[in-house]
Symmetry: C2
Subunit: 236 residues, 2 copies
Amino acid sequence: MTADSSDTEQQSGADVSGRVVAVLGGTGPQGRGLARRLAQAGHRLVIGSRSTERGQSAAETLSADIGAAPGAVTGDDNSGAAAAGEIVIVAVPWEGHGELLESLREELRGKIVVDCVNPLGFDKQGAYALDVPEGSAAQQAAAILPDSTVVAAFHHVSAVLLEDPEVSSFDLDVLVLGEDREATDLVQALAASIPGMRGVYAGRLRNAAQVEAFTANLISINRRYKAHAGVRVTDV
Amino acid sequence: MTADSSDTEQQSGADVSGRVVAVLGGTGPQGRGLARRLAQAGHRLVIGSRSTERGQSAAETLSADIGAAPGAVTGDDNSGAAAAGEIVIVAVPWEGHGELLESLREELRGKIVVDCVNPLGFDKQGAYALDVPEGSAAQQAAAILPDSTVVAAFHHVSAVLLEDPEVSSFDLDVLVLGEDREATDLVQALAASIPGMRGVYAGRLRNAAQVEAFTANLISINRRYKAHAGVRVTDV
């Protein structure tokens, strides 16, 4: 499946088809939702979880749900998924983010690692950004994984919408940040393979913190307007 | 002048007409541009500057440029402008932000203070967020001005577009943050009085830092896409 023409013209022409995409934390809401949409877009998906069994079970459920071709969606533990993926999406909770990546340094060597983790705290007044010693989750990943190419993306996509089978298109841009042009181009193309989404390059990793933290603002917006808010970048 | 219907339905119905709006730093690009558009929207404007003469000169230039009614746009020093304004927009450079507000504590007492300052640094790789001890420029303003109502807004509006007489409408939302509903409603209405703009409530001041810092991402986007990027919030 290709992006529609209005998306394509914004993209670099990077070809993401045929790549194996692994989702670490693929049994959480965000990971599960991204896996669903990327599988529907025709990518080969490996769903990683803390246990092989849970990963496999999630893969079977998703395969049946979307009618995936045999073998198109498989499950494994996070280590197996990281080893299998060419592009590895990190969709785990912030707690344990660094620890997991440290344990997967070998598996992730040479890979494109797409971090979509938002370090947020919650209290009665809603969500707020947590202090991250490295600056951001993405910079923490880059510090832990010097031999991987870390890209930050998919922070603002609503898990509720991703998982809603009634939703067929997404009115939002995926902000993509990183140091490596080839990798950010590829992740932009990955985003654009989901209907309605567009991947927009939005800077280097040193500017990832505010993109992660902005998820707290979207949560405030969702509360106030009873919405599933997303962001579009205008004039691009 | 009123917002068009598509804007109005998103607004609270707060009535911003007839208020005197002061712009501190009204002779810098951002302040000058905001003053121009708010004056064109029919608000009574007072342009503040470090010197009375420069404020008055900017007011005369703007009045002539947009054909303002006599007395609709006046100039003063920042202290005089702060005293005259009911809504006071702070559009000064980050350097000197705190010092200026400390010097205007009396003038700003009881006022709505709209902080649109972005604490950014610049180097060869572009823009990046500066560390702010109070968390954000808006929180610094709130700490310095306990007897004012601080709202954060207008961070992402391109000064180039604001000042371009060829531009008649703006494809962007103004994110409005604050603790006081009446004040954020009013500033949302102020934003919506500029054609194309919409004011969207985006959280409390503790979530202002990432909105300010996101200006660095917009600068990266502008570089990459040769654009004047703005943000629209979808599903709102």
